[in-house]
Symmetry: C2
Subunit: 337 residues, 2 copies
Amino acid sequence: MNNDLILLGHGSGGNLSHQLLEELLIPTLSGEGMAQRNDAALLELAGQRLAFSTDSYVVEPLFFPGGCIGDLAVNGTVNDLAMMGATPLWLSCAMIIEEGFSRQKLAEVATAMRVAADLAGVKIVTGDTKVVPRGKADGLFINTSGIGVIRHDLRIDGTRARPGDRIIVSGTIGDHGIAVMAAREGLELESGVRSDSAPLNGLVADLLAAGGDTVHVLRDPTRGGVATTVKEIALQSGVDVTLDEASLPLTAGVKGVCSILGLDPLYVANEGKLLAFVAPERAVELLAMVRNHPLGKDAAIIGEVTKIGTGKVRMLTSVGGFRGVEMLAGEQLPRIC
Amino acid sequence: MNNDLILLGHGSGGNLSHQLLEELLIPTLSGEGMAQRNDAALLELAGQRLAFSTDSYVVEPLFFPGGCIGDLAVNGTVNDLAMMGATPLWLSCAMIIEEGFSRQKLAEVATAMRVAADLAGVKIVTGDTKVVPRGKADGLFINTSGIGVIRHDLRIDGTRARPGDRIIVSGTIGDHGIAVMAAREGLELESGVRSDSAPLNGLVADLLAAGGDTVHVLRDPTRGGVATTVKEIALQSGVDVTLDEASLPLTAGVKGVCSILGLDPLYVANEGKLLAFVAPERAVELLAMVRNHPLGKDAAIIGEVTKIGTGKVRMLTSVGGFRGVEMLAGEQLPRIC
C-alpha cells in the first residue's frame, strides 16, 4: 500500500530518490538533460555550451552553525554548475514564505544570499515570491536555478571514471549534515561542528586549469553523502571502486556527533566539498594543488577505481576487512538542505 | 507590529508584493536583471540575448477545471519568457512534495507538465525533488525556471509604452483565478468556468512577426490581474492610461462567480492571456491577427495610453464616469498560481 504514497526517503538522495526519478519522473518529464543524470543539464546554444541546474532548499532549522538557508541556496546551485566544469554566471531566486514569517529573518537570509553570490562571483538576476497561509509551509523554502557557461573543451561528467582513477575528496566529510542535525538536537555548542557551505567554482577552475583532461569526474557529495555519490558515479561509469576508510578526513566533532546519534558520516551531506576522479599519474600533484586552496586544506585521496565493472563499491575498513557500500537506503537525515 | 511579519498579501502580486520587492528583496539580492522589473531577466552571452525566469507554483487545489499545477507550472514560465519576446527553449522542474502525497497524483502532474512542454515546444532538462514531513508543506509545490533565446533585434519591455498605444488583451479575463476559486468553493460545476492556462509563445511569435517594432510592451496579467499589470506598465513607462470597462471581454460564468464572491475580474489572475501595447496605426490589424490565433479569438482593444504621465490608470466605466485603477491591495485570492 505504501507504494502509493511518497515517503520522506524519496527526498533523501539515496535509493528511493533514484527509484522515483527512474520509474516516474524522468521518463514522464523526459528531456535529454535529465537522462544525462548529472548535477546540471548540458545545453548548447549558438556553439556555446551551457550548464543549467535547479535545487530547492528546505533545510530545517533555517539558521545553523556555519550558515543558513540563504548561503546554502546560492552555494548548492553554484556547486552543481561547477561540477559540470561550468563557470556559474547567473542565479534565480524563488521564495515560498509561510504567512507570519519574520521580515527580519527574511532580510538576514537575503543578505546571506547576496554575500554568498558576491563571494562566488555570480549575480542573482531574477526572482519570485509566493506566500502561503500559516501551516501550509514551514517558514521558508528557497529555489535557486543557475546558468553557467563552459569555457573549455573538456568533458566532465559522471560517465568518465576509468580504471586506475584516484578519488580525491577536497576536505573533511559530514560537516554540513552534522551541523544541521546538531542544531536540531540542541547539540551545536558541545559539538562545535560548523557547516562547510561554500562555493567550489574557484577550486574547480584551478583543478581544471592544472589537470585538464586528467580530471574525469567532479561531483559534490550532498544528499546521501560520499557513499551515495561514489556509488552513483560507479554505476554511471560502469566501474568498480574501492574506498579506504582510514583515509577519510573527519573532524573529531563530526565523529563525536555521529557516534552519539548513530550516524555513518559516509552518508552525511556536505555542502562545500567535491569528489574528483583523476588519472593516477597526476593524482598526487592535483591533491597537493587542492590542499593549497583555502577550501581544500584537508583534502585526501580516499580510494580508486579498480576495474571496469558493474558499479560495485567496497570499503577497506580500518580493521582490515572489506564491506560493500550501497546508496543511502531510506532517509537518514530529512531536510538537511 | 505587523510590519515585522510577512503577510499573505506580500505574495499577491499587488501593492504589498511590490513594497517587499522594492524595500527589501531587490536592493538586498541586487542584480541588474531584477532591477529591470520585467517578467524575465535579459542576459547577454557571446553576442546572444537570453531571457531567464523563475516561478514557484503553490496553487490550491492542485487540480481545477481546465488544468492542474503541472501545466500551470510549464505555461507560466513559458509565458514569462515569451513576454520578453524570447523563444522559450528549456525548463527546470523542482518539486517540494509533502510526505504521504499520492504517487498517482504525482504521475498525473508530471504527465500534465510533459504534455504542456510538448505543446509549447520546450524541453524539461533538469530537476530536483525534495520531500518534507507531513504538515510541513501542502501537498505539492513546483518551481520551474526557464531559459529562452531572443532571435530578433526588437526590444520588448515594460518601459516602452508610449502615448497613443492601444492595449490589446488576447481574450476573456479572470478565467484562471475564477476557475480555481470556484473549485475551492465547490462552485465549479455550476459556474462552468475553466482555467485559461495555455502557452503564449506561439501567439507572441506571430505578433512580433507581424507587428515588429510597433509592438512595444507584452505582459501576461497573472497575479493581480489586468488592473495591476496595466498599472505596473504605466508606472514603468511613465505614462497615463485609460481603460474602457465596456470593452473588457468577460464570460458569463466569470461574471456570475465574481458577483457571487464579490470579486472584481479586473484583479483576477489569468494564465493564458497577454496584454500587448501596440502603436495605434497597426492596432486594428494586429487585433485581427490575434483573433485569428486559436488562443486569441476573444481578443479586444481595452484601452489606450493617453499621455506621458505619472502612471495614472483610470477606467471609463460602463455608466459613463471615470474611476481610478490602482494595484491590487492586500490579497484577494491567495494561492491562485
